[in-house]
């Protein structure tokens, strides 16, 4: 287990505790850094990108693939549903009318229509799509890809956690597992990091902190417990978060009103905008849940337009904005849920679709992949994969290749069991080669 008892962050270790807390005395507000932060994006690119980042747009509940990115206009009514199909920025690629804005960004995106996975239950599917593993029981929790990216990609210049979740819905499957709590996701509900501000004035806080540091130093001199060392190091990291200039990335008030409007002026749109700012700050992995749930067992066509509308605008503008700023090359955007939905509608006018993981779709954009393509194919009813099935291991291997993580790297799970980043049970996971030049 990668426990908290070892390896203090190298950069804080170099500074003495006292010096560290003296620095912490300067009260910093987000406002101080607006000018800096606006320059940050271009600066990061100018001085060379250190790592790629990933923004996961998670469509909680499991979107219907037929009604989104794998429409079947030729299929019988009880399969295709009432939605129309629209052309996209790439001739020959058609998607559902629910995504008119994103249709104009398809040249940056690859639609994967051949996901085929074993989990049909929300919790199990969520776990599977976040960790690449199936829930095993036995107390073993696999780390999410976000925690893995945090561990593998975060540079020491970033003093907030490397995995940020931008709204507070379902975070099942997002656990750090055997990487340890140090790599856990930081939740920022609507951009607010809970308890990031001291409950007393900055001067009082730093005086208290100094006393606490003295207390712990004394204690540690007498009892050299590894837990004390870990506790103290963690506290230093935490205070760094409180004073971090990177917190300004959560504040979108500095963005122009027109850009906010382009993102949709919605919770999801705002979160997408914050995600872009966090990439600029150097956060390797950011996750955003769709505000609405896609679990449409009934009343599908009454409900899906509003759920999809918010997502369409937010993700389309995110991709466009990232491209506009020259950031899309080093930022992978993933649109996915935990599974697709049954190709055949389940009833009459209040009809819906149920869970379906045998054949479904996800979308990738940016990160240097070859855009404007469709990968894999389902049959005429979108019910089985006819060409190029993609497993979750293949998907994880693809993400690893794009952002630069070694998929074969092994972590020590409890009981000294080495477990690789990407699961390879029966056969070697294969990155989707078509995505790479």
């Amino acid at each position: 287990m990668d426990s908290m008892t070892t390896t203090p962050e190298s950069d804080t270790a170099r500074i003495s505790r006292r010096e560290f807390f003296m620095r912490a005395q300067v009260p910093l507000t987000a406002a101080t850094f607006f000018p800096y932060l606006n320059a940050l994006g271009t600066e990061a690119i100018a001085c060379g990108v250190k790592h790629k980042s990933c923004i996961l747009l998670f469509m909680d509940g499991g979107p219907s693939h037929i009604d989104t990115f794998d429409p079947k206009p030729e299929a019988p009514d009880e399969y295709r549903g009432p939605l129309n199909v629209i052309p996209t920025s790439v001739p020959g690629i058609h998607i559902s009318e629910l995504f008119p804005h994103f249709a104009r960004q398809i040249h940056h995106a690859a639609i994967i229509r051949s996901m085929s996975t074993p989990e049909n239950d929300h919790h199990r599917g969520r776990y599977h799509l976040h960790t690449g593993y199936r829930p095993l029981g036995g107390g073993l929790v696999h780390p999410s890809i976000g925690s893995i990216a945090f561990k593998e990609l975060r540079t020491t210049e970033l003093d907030i956690p490397g995995y940020i979740h931008l709204n507070d819905g379902n975070i099942r499957g997002c656990a750090p597992g055997y990487l340890g709590p140090r790599y856990q996701v930081l939740i920022a509900r609507d951009g607010k990091v809970a308890n990031a501000n001291s409950s007393v004035s900055p001067n009082v806080f730093s005086a208290r902190l100094e006393l606490l540091t003295d207390l712990d130093e004394r204690f540690h001199e007498e009892h050299a417990f590894s837990a004390t060392e870990a506790h103290t190091t963690l506290r230093e990291q935490t205070v760094r978060v409180m004073n971090s200039r990177h917190l300004a990335a959560f504040d979108i008030s500095a963005e122009s009103a027109s850009l906010r409007k382009d993102y949709g002026n919605t919770r999801f749109g705002d979160a997408c905008m914050r995600a872009r700012r966090l990439v600029e700050a150097g956060v390797p992995f950011i996750e955003v849940n769709s505000t609405g749930r896609w679990d449409h067992h009934g009343n599908l066509y009454q409900q899906i337009p509003s759920v999809a509308g918010e997502v369409d605008r937010g993700m389309a503008e995110l991709v466009r904005d990232l491209h506009d700023r020259g950031m899309l090359e080093h930022t992978l955007v993933i649109w996915m849920g935990e599974f697709g939905r049954t190709p055949k509608l389940n009833g009459g006018s209040d009809s819906g679709r149920d869970h379906y993981s045998k054949a479904w779709s996800i979308v990738l954009a940016g990160g240097g992949i070859k855009g404007g393509q469709v990968i894999g194919r389902t049959d005429r009813l979108a019910s089985t994969v006819e060409e190029r099935p993609v497993s979750v291991s293949d998907l994880m291997a693809t993400i690893c290749k794009i952002v630069g993580i070694d998929p074969k790297k092994e972590y020590n799970a409890p009981g000294s069991r080495p477990i690789p980043v990407v699961a390879s049970q029966s056969e070697e996971p294969k990155p989707i080669v078509e995505l790479f030049g």
């Binding site: 287990m1 426990s3 908290m4 008892t5 074993p118 239950d121 919790h123 199990r124 776990y127 199936r134 095993l136 029981g137 036995g138 107390g139 073993l140 929790v141 956690p161 099942r172 656990a175 750090p176 340890g180 709590p181 140090r182 856990q184 930081l186 990091v193 809970a194 308890n195 990031a196 409950s199 007393v200 009082v204 005086a207 208290r208 006393l211 606490l212 003295d214 207390l215 712990d216 004394r218 204690f219 540690h220 009892h223 050299a224 417990f225 590894s226 837990a227 004390t228 870990a230 506790h231 103290t232 963690l234 506290r235 990291q237 935490t238 978060v241 409180m242 409890p414 009981g415 049970q425």
Partner: protein, 532 residues
């Protein structure tokens, strides 16, 4: 079920419990010490002195009641000159209501891990049932038997709860196999679900053979009306308020469980139901398969059952198991002290799986009493108990101790009830425990948890109130600091502590703020967060 409203942690521990079992605890304690000391001598490791009184009382309160001792409990103990006072304290705390509650606190999340997804079960019922059984000192074999074989709606019989929550919405036969093997047999079978491990002794035959006992366990809410309408027990609230939960429960059926996820591999489809020792029971009788399994499990001859609990209790008291990981007993993973392990398990079984007997025997050892020393997980001194390991307070211990210091208003958060399974305490524990499996000697919290502890606005008022009370009572600043130390760390400050605190106080004009700052620093200190 008698629904007791669990009291808060502050109640002083009063109930005295029974006498020692004819000195058999002492005999076992001496045997344990001889085994430990023999290894220490072999390895030439220096043995630590016994911990001082203040350290000892804080340790034992946290271990047995889940909270730090009150200032009065500390000073009474320090001033008591009876040479038998430690033994008396052990006798008094083992079997107290707080002890039963603390054990229920430890076992509830083991049986219903927090990542489980049961929509139809609450933790309250299980917690209250366990608290009641531990309070009666029901033999561990009876408790385990009920947990594994009970039927009925969970509002009437909360012992069924284990089967009502898994990674999906119910506990599938394979999840039941994993969980029951880990908790009640102390072995990990989950790897054998998919493959025979090349080195371990468990194969797919054992795994799927055991899973067979749980494949006819069904979840249902179809009960007679008089059972359906019974209130669901909840902690600290009027019970009818919990009644919006469906009265789901557990039943044995004749058909195979359709909920088998993931499906069994083809080549093990014909594995017959069999116990871990290879025996195949006679299934022709119409008995519930779970009962057949439970009968085998709790039999005195089953070596795994007693050992699994001994290792858990050892882990709770010593910060590591005799076998590590705590639930991973197997031929190629030997105990650090094999004879000690065998004999203790044997005594536990022979004495009717009496948990109070087991606790007392281990608490009476010299090994338990030792002072701490510098500790890492691979440290020989820790593995062989030359000194004790400092452990990190569990989230439950931390909450109850903070509650004792800061009071209910500070800890209540937005919820009306503190101890209800959807109340402030449960929310705190869920948030503060990122992992289900926590290594007790590693500091396993992260940035979000520390932000919470450092910056809780609700603590601020409480800090000032607490300080005001102390300032009203005590005259000199030395006495005030002394009281703050007793309140939080359960000891008197030494001269260096006093110098540090008083110099901090002298730098601040607002006296109350200075003391509030001291209290803040103390509750955030490493010393407070650790069990020495």
């Amino acid at each position: 079920l008698v629904i007791s409203l669990s009291a808060f942690a502050q109640e002083p521990v009063t109930a005295a419990s029974g006498k020692l079992r004819n000195g058999r605890e002492i005999e076992l304690a001496q045997f344990v010490d001889r085994q430990i000391d023999a290894q220490l001598t072999d390895r030439n490791l220096p043995i630590a002195l016994p911990a001082d009184d203040a350290t000892f009382i804080r340790r034992i309160y946290l271990d047995l009641t889940g909270r730090i001792p009150l200032p009065d409990e500390v000073t009474d103990f320090l001033e008591n000159s009876d040479v038998e006072k430690r033994t008396e304290l052990i006798q008094r705390l083992v079997g107290s209501p707080a002890f039963a509650r603390h054990l229920a606190d430890i076992w509830t999340p083991l049986i219903l891990p927090k990542r489980t997804a049961g929509f139809s079960v609450t933790r309250d019922g299980l917690f209250l049932w366990l608290e009641q059984e531990f309070g009666r000192n029901t033999p561990w074999s009876d408790i385990a038997y009920e947990l594994i074989s009970s039927s009925g709606p969970h509002n009437v019989n909360p012992a069924v709860s284990m089967f009502m929550a898994g990674d999906s919405t119910t506990l599938s036969p394979n999840e039941a196999t994993d969980l029951i093997a880990r908790l009640f047999l102390g072995v990990q079978l989950q790897c054998a679900q998919c493959h025979d491990h090349p080195f371990a002794q468990w194969t797919q035959q054992e795994y799927w053979g055991m899973a067979r006992f749980f494949e006819r366990t069904d979840i249902t809410n179809r009960w007679p009306e008089e059972l359906r309408s019974r209130a669901i027990p909840t902690v600290g609230r009027k019970s009818e308020q919990g009644a919006w939960y469906s009265p789901y429960g557990v039943l044995d059926t004749n058909r195979k469980n359709p909920r088998h996820k993931p499906p069994m591999p083809d080549r093990v489809l014909d594995v017959p139901a069999r116990f871990l020792n290879g025996e195949q029971p006679d299934l022709r009788s119409s008995q519930s398969l779970r009962r057949i399994f439970a009968d085998w499990l709790v039999a005195t001859e089953n070596p795994w059952f007693a050992k699994a609990m001994v290792n858990r209790v050892w882990w709770q008291l010593f910060g590591r198991g005799l076998v590590m990981p705590v639930d991973d007993s197997r031929a190629d993973n030997r105990a650090t002290h094999p004879q000690l392990f065998d004999r203790t398990a044997q005594e536990f079984a022979v004495n009717g799986f009496d948990l109070q007997f087991l606790f007392k025997a281990l608490l009476l050892t010299k090994a338990y009493e030792r002072a701490t020393g510098p500790t890492g997980n691979d440290d020989e001194n820790h593995i062989h108990y030359a000194h004790r390991a400092a452990r990190v307070m569990s989230s439950e211990q931390l909450f109850d101790s903070l509650l004792q210091i800061l009071g209910e208003d500070a800890m209540r958060g937005r919820s009306k009830e503190i101890r209800w399974s959807k109340g402030a305490r449960a929310a705190f524990v869920t948030f503060m425990t990122p992992d289900d499996d926590v290594d007790p000697i590693a500091f396993q919290r992260g940035v979000p948890q520390l932000l919470y502890l450092l910056n809780q606005r609700a603590y601020e008022n409480a800090l000032l109130e607490r300080v005001q009370e102390v300032v009203r009572r005590e005259r000199t600043s030395r006495d005030i600091v002394d009281q703050l130390y007793l309140l939080v760390l359960g000891r008197h400050p030494d001269e260096k502590d006093l110098t540090l605190m008083l110099s901090y106080g002298s730098q601040h004009e607002g006296k109350l703020e200075a003391y509030a700052g001291m209290l803040w620093a103390l509750i955030n200190s490493s010393e407070f967060n650790l069990i020495r």
